[in-house]
Amino acid sequence: MSGGAIATDQRAASRRRRILVDSAWAYAFLVPAFLLLFVFKILPAIYALYISLYRCAVFCPFTPQDFRGLTNYTDILFGARAEAFWRSLSTTFTYAAITIPFEIAFALVIAYVLFQKIHARSAYRTIYYLPYVTSTVAAATVFNWVFHPNYGPVNAALERVGIGALTWFDEPNGVFAMIADRFGATLPDWAGGPSLALASVAIFSIWHFLGFQIVIFLAGLGNIPAEYYEAARLDGASQRQLFTRITLPLLSPQIFFVFTIASIGVLRAFNEIFVLTNGGPLDTTRTVSMLVFRTFFQQGQIGLGSAMGVLLTVIILIFTLVQFRVLERRVHYG
């Protein structure tokens, strides 16, 4: 053996030792975080599956006679609980559909205007951001008051312009049905649209999260090189063309990002609905999260509630993956 080989061996040994020492330190560093994540995230996720196999009313001791296999799932998907579940799922997606496009469109326009060289930009940004930092419970309490059917200023304004008072968060009738009703037409039930109560929750949600989206879009706009605009202007592009040909495509990563985050946020929405409508009127705002809460906390059905939670998780995961797949291809990463 040559000296060089011995030296290499020695070096390799000392490297191995260092890796070993490093590993020991690394594991020590990881223990606190992973222990907690294991106890409060990973273990409960497995436990959720376990609980969802049991059916007991009010109190669950998980005795063998409470074990029901997959009955909870079949009940939720096809059986006695199916109507409530599918309805809440459709409510959830309706809520997403009437919230997210508006959130994105408003935020995009405002961010675009704000991004132009404009005085007091940071003052505007500070103001727009206020709703987002306000707690949902407090903000929703205020909204209930602003939209109060008798004393609220919104209805006072509507009365003045001749539209008349609406019952907002108490109104189970569909928005389209109500509009048609104004013109003396009657729409079939399926065409009635989301209840005004759900639409009112959506208004709250758009207001509450506007600042968040604006900040993301401002960051994205800051990444678009100014030369692109200059070159396009030299070619005689109009303001509108600048926006549709340059800004929109180059902002697509942020739009995609906001879309994903907002979808997940809406699928999980609980606090604002709990305060604003508590799932009513006539269950028209009972999203899946609200249904899980009610099943678990008001009907004492922890197995059924857990099964619904598992299904919601699966839906959120599928939704996220599909979004990534579909949108990834269209998104222009600048």
Binding site: A57, V58, F59, C60, N150, T167, N173, P281, L282, F297
Partner: protein, 444 residues
């Protein structure tokens, strides 16, 4: 104090020896946990749903008085857990978490749910206990209906809760408006509909400026009307509902009619109480426990008002809903359970229940309360209190079966459907009845 503890030891010794001798085992009442003594300081927690004054304050004052005067070292801590629904949610959570309060304020059907989890104490031994129970005269002094509602057919007719914040469904009448319309308090449903139409006024634009009636989508008032129309809420075997018959339909039809005619008002929160006091609303159905709020508003506006039974189909069989919640003792330790019983027993004693009735506007649980000087004085100031009290005899409880909590939501949704035009009364009552029967089936 010392003498007392010696006595307690002797009592315990006798009790302990008693079991072993054949002679003693023939004694009529076996010694149970209900016959213990409080041996040291005990603190018990009462979860309740009285969120606002005067009721909240009245309860706190009563608890303070008990803590200062019970002489056994019992301390009661009263904790508000939100409204009845929130309290129910919290209690279900606490049952699951194994962290129960000692006493919980609850409606009968909620007690039925808690009993399902085997956490509710049977109060019969405590009531019957020679040492800690109530004597015959006192037992008879408490209205029979209050025992009936707290005995649960699904659970061997055991006494699982105790009357606490009792009230009745009644009709509030704005006398000024009635007089202006030249009507008297309606006794039948036909008279009622006439009076509602006569007290409604509409402006030039066709919108009502004052209403005859305010809707209430709470299930209890629907139930009260079913009673008043001669119907029943449950079938005799407690397995299906009975409110989905012609009486229930008549209620919904009347609501539908008032709604379409614009004579009925759909309240937003409790604004109808203000409208009532301002002379913009002639009738509404509510609990007698709304009295403090109505009185406060009416005192301000000077409106003349009274309380009467709902219109009846048959005056000879007049009936309304007896409701208001009860209190259940939960399974903790023998000492705490006994302390809890001693508190609720004290609370229902003549002096306390009379005092409670005058301060909280709830109904006293004892007949003898009507002889009490405090109550008489209160009635002289609030004649409506007496008007309510006189109806206790014709009040009957709502179902205390498991599933009733969900059924209440079904009833309430049914009314909302009719009022918002989403369903016709006959369709609404049919689907409502089917849903309720399904719930009952699931809860078996």
């Amino acid at each position: 104090m010392r003498k007392l503890s010696i006595l307690a030891v002797i009592a315990l010794l006798i009790a302990a020896c008693g079991g072993s001798t054949p002679a003693a085992s023939q004694a009529p009442a076996a010694t149970t946990e209900a016959d213990l003594d409080i041996t040291g300081p005990v603190t018990i927690t009462l979860w309740h749903a009285l969120t606002s004054d005067p009721q909240k304050g009245a309860l706190e004052a009563a608890v303070k008085k008990f803590n200062e005067t019970n002489g056994k070292g019992i301390t009661v801590e009263a904790v508000v857990q939100g409204n009845y629904t929130q309290l129910y949610q919290k209690t279900l959570g606490a049952i699951q978490a194994g962290a129960l309060p000692d006493l919980v304020h609850a409606y009968e059907s909620q007690v039925a749910d808690y009993t399902r989890a085997e956490v509710v104490i049977d109060l019969d031994p405590y009531l019957a206990s020679k040492k800690n129970g109530l004597d015959k005269a006192s037992q008879d002094d408490i209205y029979k209906g209050y025992y009936d509602t707290n005995r649960f057919p699904q659970y061997g007719n055991k006494l699982l809760s105790w009357p606490f914040t009792k009230s009745l469904a009644v009709m509030y009448v704005n006398e000024d408006m009635l007089k202006a319309a030249g009507k008297t308090i309606p006794k039948t449903w036909a008279e009622f509909e006439e009076a509602v139409a006569a007290t409604t006024k509409k402006g030039a634009d066709g919108k009502a400026t004052q209403w005859g009636f305010a809707f209430n989508s709470d299930a209890s008032y629907f139930n009260a009307q079913v009673f008043a129309r001669g119907g029943n809420l449950m079938a005799a075997d407690n397995k299906t509902v009975a409110w989905n018959g012609k009486e229930g339909l008549a209620v919904l039809q009347m609501y539908d009619k008032f709604n379409k005619e614009g004579t009925g008002y759909s309240p937003k929160g409790f604004d109808f109480q203000d409208f009532f006091a301002q002379g913009k609303l002639a009738f509404f159905f509510s609990s007698t426990s709304s009295m403090p709020f109505v009185k406060a508003a009416a005192d301000k506006s000077g409106a003349k008002w009274s309380v009467a039974n709902l219109p009846q189909a048959d005056a000879a069989k007049a009936k309304t809903v007896q409701f208001g919640a009860n209190v259940a003792v939960l399974k903790t330790t023998p000492q705490k359970q006994l302390a809890s019983w001693l508190f609720i027993k004290w609370f229902s004693e003549s002096a306390q229940t009379a005092d409670w009735a005058t301060k909280s506007f709830y109904m006293p649980v004892r007949k003898s309360a009507s002889d009490s000087a405090v109550v008489k004085e209160y009635w002289s100031k609030v004649p409506q209190g007496k008007q309510g009290f006189d109806l206790i005899g014709v009040s009957a409880p709502e179902p205390n079966v498991r599933g009733q909590q969900d059924i209440r939501d079904v009833v309430s949704n049914m009314i909302t459907e009719v009022l918002t035009g989403k369903a016709a009364p006959d369709a609404a009552i049919k689907t409502g009845g089917d849903k309720a029967n399904q719930i009952l089936k699931d809860a078996q």
